[in-house]
């Protein structure tokens, strides 16, 4: 059992068999995370560099924990205060990594396609930890794992991604992965935050939460980046909350309980009200735990085969 690709650059084009293998493997790693000693040896002697050109504390910590729990040696590289701020190009950074005999690279970059570029110029396995507005595959996988644990199977379930779809790589990875697994995916948000022609990815588009709530099994609520309130894309945070906030009043109208997900960090009472975020159908902290398991699965499947 091995993955088709040496890299994980996105969920677009990843087969159902590979997604299933990653999710099944991740479930086994959940058990490792429950042990008193949470470390296992399969990546012993492997060196992994976390190349973060964009700040992201929680994704980096999640990757780092996953790497250390698989017994890999870990090096962290943050763009600020590094050679990048001195003008080094991505290609030169990559060549330097190569020269240091690194086995795997986890990269977060503000430009879409940076991980793909890297995968063509280095021999190491490359894992995309978020590239521009393109994809964030491990987030997509952890969302899928969480939904699968909660609902048994993804086949036929209706998942709606709510919020700023335009600026969301999480939305894109969710759409590709969930659709491959046979889920029914929709998106909901103000038209100013909806990418043009998003329907072509095979999703239904809603502009009112009230329209999607009657048929939805799970809502994946995206973070509204506070800095966007001055972008002119929506009038104010308060108005956003009034129309698109996932509130108790709205979800209580659903005919069946709706599973609530959020990739974090949460803006309480902006995109989601506090009582829903902390409510009994919220799986937000499950997602965080599953994030480590799913990253362990990806690292293990890519790293132990070469």
């Amino acid at each position: 059992m091995a993955l088709e690709s040496r890299h994980l650059l996105g969920l677009e084009g990843v087969s159902k068999e590979d997604l299933t293998l990653i999710l099944d493997t991740a479930r086994s790693f959940r058990e490792v995370l429950e042990r008193p000693i949470k470390k296992v040896p399969p990546l012993q002697g492997k060196t992994i560099v976390n190349l973060f050109f964009e700040n992201s504390t929680r994704t980096r910590i999640s990757f780092e924990l996953a790497e250390r729990r698989l017994s890999a040696d870990v090096v962290n590289f943050a763009a600020s205060g590094s050679s990048v701020s001195k003008g080094e190009t991505l290609k030169d950074t990559a060549r330097n990594i190569e020269a240091m005999k690194i086995d795997m690279v986890v990269i977060r970059h503000q430009s879409a396609g940076a991980p793909h570029f890297l995968s063509r110029v280095v021999r190491a396995n490359v894992i995309n930890a978020g590239d521009g507005l393109h994809e964030h595959p491990t987030q997509g996988l952890l969302d899928m794992m969480t939904l699968r644990e909660k609902h048994g199977s993804l086949e036929g379930m209706h998942v709606c991604v709510v919020g700023d779809i335009l600026h969301s790589r999480v939305a894109r990875s969710n759409i590709h992965g969930l659709r491959t697994m046979g889920a029914d995916v929709s998106v909901c948000g103000p038209s100013t935050l909806m990418p043009p022609s998003i329907e072509e990815l095979g999703v239904r588009v809603y502009h009112r939460l009230e329209d999607v709530i009657p048929s939805v099994d799970a809502l994946n609520v995206l973070r509204i980046q506070l800095e966007r309130q001055h972008s002119g894309l929506f009038p104010s945070l308060r108005e956003y909350h009034r129309f698109f906030g996932v509130t108790k009043e709205r979800v209580d109208r659903a005919p069946r309980p709706i599973t609530i997900m959020h990739p974090g960090p949460i803006n309480r009472d902006v995109e989601i009200s506090a009582d829903v975020a902390d409510g009994e159908h919220s799986v937000i902290l499950e997602q965080v735990t599953n994030g480590v398991a799913v990253r362990m699965a990806v690292l293990y499947l890519l790293g132990s085969s070469n």
Partner: protein, 180 residues
């Protein structure tokens, strides 16, 4: 490829009964016992031995399943990675006498992996090794405490244990590779 039947279903049943008796005989305090089977056939064997001990001693011995995939020394360089499955040991092994169960003892590498895996889960008072078949050819200094059957083999041969739960039938076969 030729295949010789070494033990049939009845024979296997009798061997398992004897193994269960040996476990009890060796461990007077059955209350501190736990049985851990190595996936896949060690797991079935562990359950059957626990069932038999229940009949003999009227006591439920906790049974766990160990997946050693993450501890193998031959993971690297394998194109066909073995599918990782969960370890399911839902009790504390610390302070217990753990009877580690596998179907065939060969090079000893599986057992080495299993010992490391067990140590990461807890600190048993003792670990005993029980195998259905010992076929020789050890590559590590490992010896079983309780053996169902010693089968001298050549390196070209393979011992195949079949169990109802995973194979639909019970039996032990000696398989000859190539044209002998």
């Amino acid at each position: 490829m030729t295949q010789t039947k070494l033990v049939d279903a009845d024979g296997l049943k009798r061997t398992i009964n004897r193994l269960a008796h040996e476990v009890v005989e060796k461990n007077r305090d059955v209350r501190s016992l736990a049985i851990v089977g190595i996936r896949t056939r060690g797991e079935h064997l562990a359950h059957r031995i626990a069932q038999k001990i229940r009949e003999i001693e009227e006591i439920d011995i906790p049974v766990g399943i160990l997946d050693i995939t993450l501890y193998r020394d031959d993971l690297r360089g394998r194109l066909d990675q073995p599918q990782l499955k969960s370890t399911e040991i839902l009790f504390d092994i610390s302070g217990k006498t753990v009877v580690l169960v596998d179907d065939v003892l060969f090079t000893g590498r599986t057992i080495r992996s299993a010992l490391n895996a067990l140590m990461d889960i807890g600190r048993p008072a003792r670990i005993e090794l029980l195998v259905l078949v010992d076929r020789g050819h050890r590559e590590l200094p490992i010896k079983a405490d309780i053996v169902g059957k010693n089968v001298p083999t050549s390196s070209r041969q393979e011992v195949r244990v079949l169990m109802r739960e995973s194979d639909g039938e019970d039996g032990i076969y000696l398989v000859e590779q190539g044209n002998a």
